[in-house]
Amino acid sequence: MSVPVDIRVETRDFDPGAELAAARRRLGGAAGAVATFIGLVRDRAAPGQPVATLHLEHYPGMTENSIRAIVDRALSRWPLLDVVVVHRVGDLAPSEQIVFVQVASAHRAAAFAACEFLMDFLKTDAVFWKREDSPDGRRWIESTGDDCRRAEAWGDGNA
């Protein structure tokens, strides 16, 4: 039986409570653990400066496939029961929700680990581009050295 995997790239906001409720309905009593991660837009503007907004772009089709490839690697490593990844695109203001990862498993260890794994590779392998727009100008953001080290630490050979 294949594991339910829901991958969405959307401009609209998401509702973590609704995502959890939907997963509980899908799972019945099979899962004992659900781990979720919610990424927020951090205000990167210098103190005293107007807030910067984050502009996100994707490549429709290829982006969803790149997320699916990351999820498939997680599925091969842990006995997961349900996976949801929602990633927003468009213009986002500080404190807005940008990414949602939800992983269900029978026991917590797999859910915790897979949730972190998915986020680490979303940072380095998922096909998105981020631009920070502020009164000082526009700047495209790249994965940090720390992002790459975190992905490489999984020893998955793809980072």
């Binding site: 490549y59 979303l122 581009w129 994965s143």
Partner: protein, 84 residues
Amino acid sequence: MNLRVRFFASLREAVGRPEIDLELPDGAGHGDLLAALEARLGEPAMAALRAGNVRVARNQTLTDQPFAPADGDEIAFLPPVTGG
């Protein structure tokens, strides 16, 4: 052969447009593709596309260069990605 070439994010800004359509002679190779791009886009844009951290996707799959283009291909130039 007809190809669509797409540019994303900073490369779209460098090129000044999201995509162009190219018509190449049948049997054209990778070098012919680059030459056609250069003729259409000019040198500053080509320099951005040739940067060492730019990756190329062919029909939405990352590909090594050089590759042999085929009729109907969608070629995309991708700057470094980051999500999350």
